[in-house]
Amino acid sequence: MLFHEPFFALFIAPAFLAIFLALNDRGNAKKILLIAASIAFYTWGEPLFVPVVLLSTAFDYFLSRRMENTTPAARKFLVTLGVVSNLGILVFYKYADFIAANLNLALKPLAGAEIPLLQIALPIGVSFVVFEKISYLVDTYRGTSKPAATFKDYTLFVFLFPKLLAGPILKYHEMERQIAEPGKVGAQDLIEGFLRFARGMAKKILLADQLGIFADRVFAADASTLSAGDAVLGLICFSLQIYFDFSAYSDMAIGLARMLGFQLRENFRMPYAARSLTEFWRRWHISLTTWIRDYLYVPLGGSRSGEFRTYANLWICFLASGIWHGASWNFVLWGVYNGLFLTLDRIFLLRWLERAGGFVSVVVTLVIVTFGWAIFRTTSVEQLSAFTAAIFGQSANILDIEHHPEVPLAVTIGLFLSLLPATPLYPKLERWYATSAGLRMAGAVVIVLLWVWACGQALSIPFKPFIYFRF
């Protein structure tokens, strides 16, 4: 069940919110309702995975309670056990076949038999859930936060449905108080939460999905038959699609959580206005970047152990980030690519971009990021290589790709919205918006209208009527 589906947005969400508001004054009942609804929500999509998460949640909770009043060595053992068991879930569901396939390839000349592939469907949200559970164990181990007061509280943290499928990745120490005592929902929460949700749904359906149609077509085509124009346009469409799609999902999650009285941290902050790759990663999928910083980069030593070690740590972190996104060599390569430019940033690029001025630094950063998306979106090194050749006009036997009339408008709006924050005009517009009640009201009306249109669009996509039934 996805948030932008009419089934959720027009049926489940309002019905659940009505019941939730009826219990607004009853903290404990509200908590139980939220847990039950969240587990039901996850079971709807991943019925076989939920028991695994429930058992693992109970195990985490048991370990965290045992960490209290014990020796440092035992605490270390318990947290290691917890982290390994969670990573075990991730490896089993996400990487087992990737590892087995590569081992089979590497050992083929030596061994006759092959490791059988498990062919397990990847449970949606597994990477997010596992990282959040690890944050709880590590926070408890470090003493950043106390173990959850009750199993109920920890279950709510793990299963809280607005962030369950695609983040933002919560860190336990940031959510501890809200989980223990969910706030009462006020009118402001409902209005702002709904507008945020509606904005996300409109972004997803009206913009990201339109861009995705052309991007999918380009990346599904034989890359060696793409014209330079189609390859570049396809890459731009994908760069905009991934931003508007992912940030839209975060908007919907943040908005929904807000309507339930929870405040989640922002996950995107105008990333395409960044003036360096280092800045880009402070603005893109912030909850993952900060998670990697807090739970991997810092424990590895961060930038405290000399230049060479810092570079190595950066590469390790971005390799981890790459592989977190998916089990394929392209994601590994994407991690390496980001690690390379972040290292170059530290060596000279950052200083050079600062001197080059705002326009040049934004453009250079955009080029680096956009080519990174080509690595991310292609499915093999061969496809990436042919796609890169196509960008530089090296394709033969060029085939036409149908251009939907929506694409030019969607690209124009996408570029405008993504790049406006990079212009000097943006801070003025922000101030104007903040001080003008009329403008905010007009903005709210526009968002509601776009949401209504998005609902219609979401309903019309699967509706493919015929005049008559045929044979």
Partner: protein, 394 residues
């Protein structure tokens, strides 16, 4: 996190809860109404038909593989009361901004003419070489069918109906990718009909006959907002069928239709099937269409009720109705796409939906069989191939 604006008034909260429950409650009612044949509460109505998904039963297996959830999701989504108006609003915006319709199978050509994309794709991929290779096998099967009926002294007629893309290619072809050659497009139908005639099949070529009408009436045979022929087109085609039946030695001979037409500026029914199918808020049915009136014929008396089967696709709907109601063939039954349903008899009423091969088998002994294929699905459309399989037994 504490909020500045606490909800203090129970009344306000109760109103809000009530408002939040309106759509889910009406949706649940509609799900119930769908299941138990009650009246649904919806804002607006959608045109067109969609295949109903097979219901998934509530079992561990169907929950584990997600099919039950998918079925519930679809049923609930389809029951949302505002669904029709939201779809129409979205389609209207899309059509105004991009000239595209929600159902992307419907596209616009010049002069506001609508068409289903399928017809253009088919017209633009006609290939003479492929036709010459594939058609003989199918024509041999048609011959087998004809022989089956001829052996019993019965009548078999093979009818071809026209496609809008082939009739008005100048409105569409330049707007879409059209990879085949002009020769492929122009010679395809004549080549096929020549092969059919050469094989001795009793052919009623209402496709070529309709194309020959171009420019002969003050309005075109295919209406602007429809994909099927208009009343003039199907009335003329009906008369051609009656003439062919008579030529086969049918006695007493059937009188031809006496008819007249007037031009109306508002399209209705079949003349606006695509206008309705695009499901926009304000459809435009204002274009010239033909309205035909028939004189009451003096019909001959038959010694016994006749078994007349008319098997074909959507183009046979109006011709079957006219044959039945105005063409002295009240016994005629139309088998839509063979199995979809049968309609006919006195008053041309629906007799049965969803037929099986068992229902079709008695047609082996029919007095007259008209098998229709549209030129956009020849050679060997699915319903015709299946009819051959059931009749001939292989």
């Amino acid at each position: 996190m504490h909020n500045n604006f606490q909800m203090s008034e129970n009344t306000g909260r109760a109103i809000l809860i009530g408002l939040l429950l309106v759509v889910p409650a009406l949706t649940l009612w509609n799900v119930y109404a769908d299941a138990y044949g009650k009246k649904k509460i919806t804002f607006g109505k959608l045109a067109g038909v969609v295949e109903q998904a097979q219901p998934a039963s509530f079992r561990v297996q169907t929950i584990a593989d997600g099919s039950w959830q998918k079925m519930v999701n679809t049923a609930v989504t389809n029951a949302i009361p505002s669904r029709p108006v939201l779809i129409k609003a979205s389609n209207s915006i899309r059509s105004a901004l991009f000239g595209r319709y929600g159902d992307e199978q419907v596209v616009a050509g010049d002069k506001g003419h609508l068409i289903e994309k399928y017809y253009i794709s088919e017209y633009c991929t006609r290939n003479l070489d492929a036709l010459k290779k594939n058609a003989p096998a199918w024509i041999a099967k048609l011959k087998e069918l004809q022989n089956l009926y001829a052996a019993q002294g019965k009548i078999f007629i093979y009818e071809l109906t026209p496609s809008k893309a082939a009739h008005l290619p100048e409105l569409f072809v330049h707007r879409f990718p059209c990879p085949n050659s002009e020769r492929d497009r122009k010679e395809w139908l004549p080549s096929y009909t020549a092969m059919v005639r050469e094989a001795g099949i009793n052919l009623m070529d209402n496709a070529t006959a309709t194309h020959a009408l171009k420019g002969k009436y003050p309005l075109d045979i295919f209406p602007q907002g429809g994909v099927h022929w208009n009343a003039i087109g199907y009335t003329l085609a009906t008369n051609q069928l009656l003439a062919v039946i008579n030529r086969q030695g049918f006695t007493p001979p059937l009188p031809l239709l006496k008819w007249d037409y007037k031009i109306s500026e508002i399209a209705r029914g079949l003349d606006r099937d695509l206008v309705d199918l695009i499901n926009v808020l304000i459809p435009n049915p204002r274009y010239p269409v033909a309205e035909v009136t028939y004189e009451k014929p003096s019909c001959p008396a038959y010694k016994r009720p006749l078994e007349i089967a008319y098997i074909g696709g959507s183009f046979t709907g109006p011709t079957a109705q006219v044959l039945n109601l105005h063409g002295c063939l009240p016994d005629l039954k139309r088998y839509t796409y063979l199995y979809r349903g049968v309609r006919g008899g006195d008053g041309y009423k629906r007799i049965k939906n969803r037929l099986t091969a068992q229902d079709i088998l008695p047609l082996r002994n029919a007095d007259i069989v008209i098998l229709e294929e549209n030129e956009a699905v020849i050679p060997a459309s699915k319903h015709a191939v299946e009819f051959h399989r059931v009749m001939v037994g292989r």
